[in-house]
Symmetry: C2
Subunit: 288 residues, 2 copies
């Protein structure tokens, strides 16, 4: 277990094929001390059982993935989406309470894309703001921080109309920082000419709810959603980005979240081992 | 020929399979009055011949594509790239002089990606600035405007380290506006939360060197370079973007530049006809 960085957290999406029991086991067995969970595998076993399993694992809980999908116009589908986010807030609070000391109650929000047939990007973005306004009091009551995640602009039409860290911070600005923050994920923001300024701003405003790392490499695969790589296997400058995050005073967990068909086809224990190695090589040298 | 917008210009890349003679002929026969050319088909016949052919066509010349690829470190390859840009400047001046009245001497610059093995995005961006500094006096002497084209951030590592209009304008700010401007291409900038402010700024600063339109649609094809569509076939809001450009006072040509394998496999005359129809339906209603 020597050499596993105590700040590393495995986001469960990195070992997507593993069920909750396997994910918790291989993470803990690798000497990793934190995990970010996804709603589907948690709900597969049920929230109470998941919370017990998490407590038994001894792992810190670092984020819950994910809420959002806020861009639908008024109507039953939007109401259903908001109710689903309410459940996600509850899950986040329960899991954070069940996790080991240092767990954080952070729900990652992916805003959603343009509704089918729509070209109204500004309107979709306003509906994201409105939805966060509806959910913020409930998050506050539950002690949960909503982390708005800007996604790379290649997902801007069909997945997430929040495309830059600056935009996420502008959305968050209407709310208290312990209730609405931003997810800082290297994969999504490395290209942004304003990235260092916006990381500094996010820190100043107390809004870095989670720092997530994985790498970017081209050519992109046919499904661009699966174009993430182990840190160090691509072109992202983790030294500069990590130092920018560290310089804000962010001292909590750092998640590795990789969507990649080859990695998903690899034995989960092997993926966790390789992730911990990559993290130690590429990220840890830039931590205090 | 009724109904072809007089401001439409066909960028030759849209009919990539056509040689220069065919491109000029099908464009003029469709009643389109402007064309943007690419260096390869021009150099295939030689510059002087190309200029004569362009003059004979009666078409306006609207842009030359393209220069750039400025991100290499010092050395023989960088010197070769700069020399190639000098030739592109010369070609642009000659073709603009040969085109019909209203032709514009605009050379589109695609900055280039990270050099092989590099993660130094900031350094690559500085080399772009340096290269433009070298070329600007030569562009001025030739009466050519260099148009820095921001490319969508999905090309940020391997093709163009200039990713937003704001960044292009920051780069251009060191130079006179008639020497260095920006290319405003809907495909590359539609997602940007700052796009309307930056279009207004580009107009205020006199830097809209060309306005180009094509559409964005998902899923992206396996080669994301070829993910452009006829205006109206995707999710871009041409009303809002075109009005923003018009509101700056921009009153020159509007190019359609589409990279798309299906469109490239279609008869060029048919592509020009469909392009003119799409333009008339989606862009023209928002022009004065």
């Amino acid at each position: 277990m020597t050499g596993v960085d105590p700040r590393l957290s495995i986001n469960q999406a990195t070992i997507k094929a593993a069920d909750l029991a396997t994910a918790l086991r291989v993470t803990a067995e690798a000497g990793v001390t934190g995990i970010g969970l996804w709603r589907e595998p948690v709900n597969e076993v049920g929230l109470d059982t998941a919370a017990r399993m998490l407590a038994d694992s001894g792992l810190r809980f670092t984020t819950h993935c994910r809420g959002g999908f806020f861009t639908l116009p008024d109507g039953p589908e939007r109401i259903a989406a908001l109710n689903d986010n309410r459940r996600a807030i509850e899950e986040t609070a329960v899991l954070a309470a069940a996790g080991a000391e240092g767990s954080t109650a952070v729900l990652v929000l992916v805003a959603g894309g343009l509704p089918e047939g729509s070209r109204d990007l500004a309107g979709a973005r306003e509906r994201v703001r409105d939805a966060i306004g509806v959910l913020a009091p409930e998050a506050r009551a539950a002690g949960v921080t909503l982390a708005i995640e800007p996604l790379h602009p290649m997902f801007g039409s069909d997945r997430c109309v929040v495309s830059t860290l600056g935009q996420a911070l502008d959305l968050a600005a209407d709310f208290d920082a312990d209730v609405v923050g931003a997810a800082v994920d290297t994969f999504h923001i490395w290209w942004d000419p304003q990235v260092l300024d916006q990381i500094a701003r996010a820190g100043r405003e107390g809004r870095i709810a989670t720092y997530q790392v994985c790498d970017w490499r081209t050519p992109l695969p046919a499904d661009v959603l699966l174009s993430r790589h182990y840190p160090g296997d691509g072109i992202i400058d983790f030294a500069t980005l990590t130092r920018a995050v560290v310089d804000t005073g962010y001292d909590r967990d750092i998640e590795v979240e990789i969507f990649n068909a080859d990695i998903w086809a690899t034995e989960p224990a092997e993926v966790v081992r390789r992730t911990a190695e990559a993290f130690a090589r590429v990220v840890s040298p830039h931590l205090p």
